[in-house]
């Protein structure tokens, strides 16, 4: 059966404070297990789109609908959406002084388990999963003794985002330029992490500027977002067209 995990119809969104429209009618469907890539010029609205899906309230949805697992996403709080299975890897992750990554992840994993009616993990059970995932994504555990994201390098922050995704095992992962600022090894690690998580129950929406990520992750669909609209959709061939002609040919 061909199930849609995410269905966006004619989505328009404004900046709440100013009323300025950023997204001007987006239609996008993502099927179970699919990987979609969004590319587009700076300021086109890519980050806005993933933030609106995650429920950020500095944006207001003025019309259209978003359905996630056939439920109306617009009725849900940010944290409810997360616990339903939406994960956003931030383009610019926040620093939280005094909060240890371990403590933060334990709280997040427990919150999700609680919402699903599962018991909290014991410290031992949790620590095992935590340490395994750290190893997989190759994060130095000394780094995780600091406050969350504080003093992390750009690449370390991105790895930490992917690590959190592995911990939370979302059904839909939104990756906002997670590949930007990564060295070749990190890029491969991120690619591997995504590929390992890919299965029939998990979908990805990946925002990127670079073809090189697609050497690691083969998308099912590629979309070009310009001026708050999807200008064109296709398969990986679209990426070559962008590399050759730039975005101007789509405008």
């Amino acid at each position: 059966m061909d199930n849609k995990i995410l269905e966006i119809k004619n989505l328009k969104a404004l900046v709440s404070e100013t009323g300025e429209e950023i997204l001007s009618g987006i239609d996008l469907e993502i099927g179970d297990g699919e990987t979609h890539v969004i590319m587009g010029p700076n300021g086109g609205g890519k980050s806005t789109l993933v933030n609106v899906i995650a429920g950020r309230d500095s944006y207001e949805v003025s019309s259209g609908s978003i359905k996630f697992k056939s439920k109306n996403l617009l009725n849900m709080n940010i944290d409810e959406r997360s616990r339903e299975g939406i994960f956003l890897a931030f383009q610019y992750p926040s620093e939280i002084p005094g909060v240890r990554p371990w403590q933060f992840m334990k709280a997040a994993v427990d919150a999700k388990r609680k919402a699903n009616g599962d018991p909290e993990l014991s410290v031992r059970e949790f620590s095992k999963i935590y340490d395994d995932n750290l190893k997989k994504i190759n994060i130095n555990s000394d780094l995780m003794k600091r406050s969350l994201n504080e003093g992390f390098s750009g690449g370390e922050k991105k790895r930490n985002e992917v690590f959190q995704m592995m911990m939370l095992e979302p059904n839909l992962a939104l990756l906002d330029e997670t590949d930007s600022g990564l060295d070749v090894d990190a890029l491969k690690a991120v690619g591997d992490a995504v590929n390992n998580l890919r299965d029939s129950k998990r979908s990805f929406l990946i925002v990127t500027h670079y073809q090189r990520l697609l050497d690691h992750i083969k998308p099912d669909f590629v979309h070009i977002l310009i001026n708050g609209k999807i200008a064109e959709s296709g398969n990986s061939d679209l990426v070559k067209k962008i590399e050759n002609d730039g975005y101007e040919s789509f405008a």
């Binding site: 995650a54 207001e60 009725n75 940010i78 997360s82 994960f87 939280i96 005094g98 959190q164």
Partner: protein, 488 residues
């Protein structure tokens, strides 16, 4: 956005949980008539079978207090507002009606034990498991003390103040008023005249107290002003850590609490004093609540001694409190770590004084204020370096965190340096919980309240890490409960 509906319903839900420790117990209480006079002081002193010198000391204090003008005596300069206090309308003594002091827990009034249970202090279990000796003060008279024996073997004295007056009068006479003289300030002065009970600790030379000593204060009898008196003396080369935690039940009229705490550290001794203060803050509109006017001061009397104050203050309608250290011995160290939270109409005017007298004395101040709702938080810190204090050093850090836009935070440093070799550093910051941080945590599945809580406890970490572990966990819980309704 659409999430508004959800946050409203959550807010209403939270309000039901307001002040979950609001209850009173029906233990029979022996109450001395309201009002203050020489006669009342005579009654208090004789009920406690005190020696004559102590009665005389009380009366001296009373005369000095009477001679002060009320308006001048009360701390009007602090940034707090409160209605006129009628000192003749207060009960100055209340004791649970027990003919004989209980010898063991079995002798303790079950209803009283139940009250402790509700406060989450099951004396018989949790305290012992946690290795904590509890000198529980119920209103004004200590009702149960655990671990007394074990401490006795080490020569440590940990008992109620009244017992200490009976059994160790020499120590009391030597140190009572040696740090906070009876004439010190209006409220300390009043306390000296009418103090009811409190804790006394003496740690002999060379002894490290192996457990955290702990007292819970609880204001119970309606309109009973609480006048606790605590004295801790750490003899040469000794160490003691003391925890003081408080919750009070809901009462309609405001309650005055004017305690005095004196700490004395002799040569190379160290005293760590931690406080968790969660008294009834009044309703959201600012009705009722405890007035907490307390004088806490330590004296580093000996060379190389150290005194640390750590406090997490979330309660009371009004807090007026400046735990201080007099750094008299050479090479002595004074520390102050504080998190003060004000929500709704709460007012807090807190801070510290570090008075450098000895050579090479050092002091360290980390003061954090969290303001939410219409709360008003003032940090008032004084660092004084006297001419004798060669090479004194102070580091002060004041941080304010604002939640919402109706609250206030003020920082008022007073610095007085009379020795040019002094090195003083001051850092201050004001921040808000950022939307980015909140969104980040909530995107990972934490609800709004939990996200706020995590950001705030993280921000308070420098202070929390100074607290003993179980206390730090409790402190985190307290912040959470105190902030309910402030976020969302």
């Amino acid at each position: 956005m659409t999430s508004d509906n959800n946050s409203i319903s959550r807010k209403t839900k939270l309000e039901d949980k307001d002040y979950k420790w609001g209850f009173t117990t029906d233990v029979e209480t022996e109450v001395v008539p309201k009002g203050l006079s020489e006669e009342i002081i005579n009654i208090i002193s004789s009920k406690k079978s005190e020696p004559k010198w102590l009665l005389d000391w009380r009366l001296k204090a009373y005369k000095h207090w009477l001679a002060q003008d009320k308006k001048e005596g009360e701390p009007e300069w602090a940034m707090v507002d409160y209605p006129d206090i009628n000192y003749q309308d207060i009960h100055y003594y209340a004791a649970p009606n027990l003919s004989d002091a209980p010898k063991s827990l079995e002798d303790v009034d079950p209803e009283m034990l139940e009250a402790f249970e509700k406060l989450g202090i099951p004396l018989e279990e949790r305290a012992q498991l946690a290795g904590v000796a509890v000198d529980a003060v119920f209103d004004s008279v200590s009702v149960a003390t655990t671990y007394e024996k074990q401490l006795k073997e080490l020569g440590i004295i940990f008992c109620s103040f009244s017992e200490a007056v009976k059994n160790h009068p020499d120590l009391i006479e030597k140190y009572l008023g040696s740090v906070v003289p009876y004439s010190d300030n209006y409220f300390a002065n009043l306390n000296s005249a009418v103090f009811s009970d409190g804790s006394f600790i003496y740690v002999p030379p060379g002894v490290r107290c192996p457990i955290e000593l702990m007292t819970y204060f609880r204001i119970n009898t309606a309109d009973t002003g609480q006048f606790e008196r605590t004295l801790i003396v750490a003899d040469k080369d000794s160490y003691v850590s003391y925890l003081e935690g408080c919750t009070a039940p809901i009462r309609k009229s405001s309650q005055l609490h004017a305690a005095v705490v004196e700490l004395v550290a002799l040569e190379n001794a160290e005293i760590k004093y931690s406080t968790l203060q969660n008294w009834y803050p009044g309703t959201k509109e600012g009705v009722g609540g405890v007035y907490n006017f307390v004088t806490k001061r330590g004296k580093c009397l000996g060379k190389g001694s150290k005194i640390s104050w750590t406090q997490v203050e979330t309660g009371s309608a009004i807090t007026w409190k400046y735990p201080s250290v007099i750094l008299q011995g050479d090479d002595s160290v004074g520390e102050f770590y504080s998190v003060a939270l004000t929500n709704n109409r709460q007012q807090a005017d807190t801070g510290t004084k570090m008075i450098h007298i000895g050579k090479n004395t050092r002091s360290n101040i980390v003061a954090k204020g969290i303001s939410a709702g219409e709360g008003n938080n003032t940090y008032r810190g004084q660092v004084k370096v006297l001419p004798s204090a060669e090479n004194a050093q102070n580091f002060t850090q004041c941080d304010s965190l604002l939640i919402g836009d109706k609250c206030g935070a003020h920082t008022v440093p007073y610095i007085e340096v009379k020795n040019p070799s002094a090195k003083l550093e001051h850092e201050a910051s004001t921040s808000k919980v950022s939307d980015d941080q909140l969104f980040y945590l909530m995107q990972r599945g934490l609800d709004e309240e939990e996200a706020h809580h995590m950001i705030i406890t993280g921000w308070s970490k420098e202070v929390f890490k100074e607290l003993p572990f179980e206390f730090a966990v409790e402190a985190g819980q307290l912040l959470k409960v105190s902030l309910e309704g402030a976020v969302g």
